[in-house]
């Protein structure tokens, strides 16, 4: 029976974490250097990790523990955001960094890994708790899981968990196949599919906003909400990821995972309790309720775009087809705008417009809930100033919430104008927000899967985009169809105009 820790004081300090070892496959990769190690170091800096915490890096490059430590030190110094690098903390943290080299296909690698884990368990009292993190090429996920299983590492004295980075397959079939491979080794309850969007503080704040306040939920339905717009715009291009992006495209890269998860967060039913299974059940239920388009509906409800060359701020910007590693005749979409509907009582007939793209005018992610206009116009039209109420949940940058409503202009007469009531996340809580990877890594170590995707969620979201992928694959697009630095192809505007709506000018 576990002994309760009598020293806990949840009012004053954060959840304590158990001792464990994090094994990172792909330890020499970009994600490890840019995100994972800086996040783990930061957690140690914040006193969130246990004294015996350890990391074992695994990759093909032969390296000693000390060389790995030096390499990780350089990465942490370079990529640590919003916090100082402290030599004293690093010295302690680096003593818990170890390295094992080898090929994920080679069974010998897992024997060496097992021996290393045993040593660490003894010397650092990790209690046999191991979190395996697959940060390799997606094609190696199956082999890594199999190797872990064959070496008997998926079971041990403590808990064993597996974290998998997206993409979870490239379509519904491959996602199912991947799940089968992982579940041969780990039970689904121990598989943590990471979607870093869900780890963002402001995405989590959507749940606090919806479920912690009594006044919004009664309005949160088809009776009051006219439509919802979800935007995730990037001003940059593919930034050296041309080869990967060419295979993925905007729909797979952003909408199938991140943005459908955001939509589910907005539209899901409140769970009875804030516990992983209850919250994920509701999220999954919503994703399953997204109407799957018929092939003939795709052209009117989905728009693909690809950016062409342009001159922005005096600089010539290449088009997607001119980016390194990209086929000059590529048919990959760098922009996607989709109209989704949710077939349930709460959201019947309410359009959810989702758009995402590369090389749009600015980097911004937000959700705009457009409410129905007042049922009767007492004040006349007032030159279009009688705008419906708008609730904006800003994810980045300037995280916060704004409510737009109409107010009387000071002075004689009844002149109206829209005003904005703003809550600024940074202004109200000056504390540094943890990065998405800090939040998600800590959750996985604590065994809290609330913010992780589950197999049924992944399959439901693949199901929602499959007809679009199929139709787009069979379509010969006349790309490029929007210049870099603009808000995407005009067809995306037309898609909304058909329903009497227009994209918010952000």
């Amino acid at each position: 029976m576990p002994v309760e820790n009598p020293f806990q004081d949840p009012l004053r300090f954060e959840r304590r974490t158990p001792e464990c070892t994090v094994v990172i496959f792909g330890a020499n990769g970009d994600l490890t250097k840019r995100k994972l190690l800086p996040a783990l170091y930061r957690l140690m800096y914040e006193r969130r990790l246990a004294p015996g915490f350890a990391v074992v890096g695994v990759s093909r490059t032969p390296m000693s523990d000390d060389q790995f430590r030096e390499k990780m030190r350089e990465s942490v110094v370079k990529f640590l955001e919003d916090s100082p690098f402290d030599e004293g903390v690093w010295e302690g943290f680096s003593q818990g960094l170890f390295y094992v080299s080898g090929d994920v296909q080679d069974p010998e690698l897992y024997k060496r890994l097992a021996a290393r884990l045993e040593e660490i368990e003894k010397s650092r009292h990790t209690g046999g708790n191991v979190l395996f993190y697959l940060s390799t090429q997606p094609s190696q996920y199956g082999a890594a899981a199999k190797g872990i299983g064959a070496a008997g590492l998926a079971r041990g004295k403590g808990w064993r968990r597996l974290v998998v980075e997206k993409p979870f397959g490239h379509d519904l079939e491959s996602a199912r196949a991947l799940s089968r491979e992982l579940q041969e080794v780990f039970p689904e309850s121990e598989v943590y599919r990471i979607d870093h969007y869900l780890g963002k503080e402001t995405v989590q704040n959507i749940l606090a906003f919806r479920w912690g306040n009594g006044i919004f939920e009664p309005l949160w339905n088809r009776r009051y909400v006219n439509h919802v717009q979800i935007t995730a715009a990037e001003s940059i291009g593919v930034e050296g990821r041309g080869a990967y992006y060419q295979e993925a495209g905007a729909l797979r890269d952003m909408i199938q995972n991140h943005l459908l998860q955001v939509m589910a967060t907005i539209a899901m039913e409140p769970s009875g309790v804030f516990e992983p299974t209850a919250v994920r059940d509701e999220r999954a239920k919503l994703l399953r309720s997204i109407r799957v388009m018929k092939h003939e509906e795709v052209h009117t409800n989905a728009v693909a775009g690809q950016y062409g060359p342009a001159r922005i701020g005096g600089v010539d910007v290449p088009g997607f087809r001119q980016e390194p590693g990209v086929d000059p005749n590529s048919q990959t979409e760098t922009y996607a705008a989709i109209t989704f509907f949710v077939d349930n009582w709460r959201w019947a007939k309410v359009p959810f417009y989702i758009r995402t793209g590369k090389r749009l005018p600015k980097r911004v992610s937000e959700i705009a809930i457009h409410f129905n206009p007042a049922p009767h116009s007492v004040f006349g039209n007032h030159n279009g100033e009688m705008q419906p109420n708008l609730l904006i949940l800003r994810i980045q940058p300037e995280e916060g919430i704004s409510l737009k409503f109409v107010s009387k202009q000071p002075g004689a007469g009844m002149k109206l104008r829209p005003v904005s009531m703003d809550f600024n996340y940074g202004a109200s809580f000056g504390e540094r927000s943890p990065s998405a990877y800090e939040t998600l890594l800590l959750d996985a170590i604590q065994g809290d899967a609330t913010l992780y995707s589950r197999q049924d969620m992944v399959e439901a979201s693949w199901g929602a985009v499959t007809p679009i992928l199929e139709v787009w694959k069979a379509t010969k697009f006349d790309f490029p169809n929007y210049p870099a630095g603009t808000w995407g192809p005009k067809e995306a505007d037309e898609m909304l105009r058909r329903r009497g709506h227009e994209w918010r000018k952000i």
Binding site: V3, D9, P51, V89, G92, G96, A427
Partner: protein
């Protein structure tokens, strides 16, 4: 100097302040954001460096935007009371909008202090917590501060500034048992220590040895144990009792700054020997048997301590139990 303050006039000045900001803003910028999550009443000695208090408040506003009412107490026998109003504004990095909080400064002589609560009452922001932070130890348990505390959700003091730690804890405990919600910065200074101790015993390998702990040693500088040492000793006793252990908890003077070291030992040293030690600079070392880890452990400033205390506006059961136990042990000794 004036001897009266009209709260209505202060409120009018506050609203004029916001109108001025609105006008300055013009059509070009994106406006001023008014932020307020509480009323913070600071009682400080007029002799104290005003800039330092102002700096702490300015930093706090980013974390806990509030209407700050600073009562500066003049060491004067004549009745004196006056007020001024201004705003603390800042531009968050990378953003286009200024964020501003209101600040009211009331100067009061000792003799006029009794009039201050009636002035503060109408200035409190409705529906939000009211926190009083008294920086003057001699005012503790005086009728003026008590009247202010009765308006407040919580009163914060620093018992480390009291001349005698033992009697300070006794008096604090009496006030707490009368129903007032208190915060003590001497207790807040212990959070990082307590956090590191809690982290050690999160490991079941170590927590299973809790009942076997036979002694806990707390090292501190100086001859007399300060309030922080008495607090941590009381807290450790309470926690260890819950784990079924009744070790000897001792404190002893040592050559170190602040709290220096806390060490847990068992009769059989091979079972568990754990310690938390403050090292030179801003580092703490946690040692469990042969395993050593280090973590950042900066000296907490007033701002750090207040930031933590302001985030807890209700009762803190762990603090209240430790305070009661620390006060009891003063009686026993």
């Amino acid at each position: 100097m004036s001897t009266t303050i009209q709260p209505d006039r202060i409120l009018r000045e506050l609203s004029e302040l916001w109108v001025t900001f609105g006008k300055q803003d013009g059509d070009q910028s994106t406006g001023v954001l008014r932020a307020c999550a509480m009323t913070l009443v600071v009682v400080a000695d007029a002799k104290e460096n005003a800039a330092e208090v102002g700096e702490t408040l300015a930093s706090l506003m980013r974390d806990h935007p509030s209407r700050a009412i600073v009562v500066r107490v003049l060491d004067d026998a004549k009745p004196e009371l006056e007020a001024r109003v201004f705003a603390q504004c800042w531009m968050p990095l990378g953003q286009r909008r200024q964020i501003c909080c209101e600040q009211i400064e009331i100067s009061s002589s000792n003799i006029s202090l009794a009039d201050v609560p009636a002035v503060v009452l109408p200035l409190i922001v409705a529906d939000l917590p009211v926190i009083v932070w008294s920086k003057i130890p001699r005012l503790f348990a005086t009728p003026a501060l008590e009247a202010l505390s009765r308006l407040a959700t919580k009163t914060i003091i620093d018992s480390a500034a009291f001349p005698d730690a033992g009697s300070a804890l006794r008096r604090l405990s009496q006030v707490a048992s009368s129903g007032l919600v208190l915060g003590d910065l001497a207790w807040t200074r212990l959070t990082r220590w307590r956090e590191l101790i809690a982290q050690i015993f999160e490991n079941p390998d170590y927590s299973s040895h809790l009942p076997a702990i036979t002694s806990v040693t707390i090292c501190h500088p100086g001859e007399n144990a300060p309030a922080t040492v008495r607090y941590i000793a009381a807290w450790l006793v309470l926690c260890l009792e819950r784990a079924g252990s009744r070790p000897a908890v001792r404190w002893k003077p040592e050559d170190c700054a602040g709290l220096g070291r806390i060490e847990f030992t068992t009769a059989d040293p091979s079972l568990l020997n754990a310690s938390v030690r403050k090292l030179e600079g801003s580092i703490a070392e946690v040692r469990v048997n042969s395993l050593i880890s280090r973590t950042v452990f900066p000296e907490a400033s007033d701002y750090d301590l207040l930031r933590e205390e302001l985030s807890i506006s209700g009762r803190d059961a762990v603090f209240e139990a430790a305070l009661a136990r620390a006060a009891e042990s003063v009686e026993e000794r």
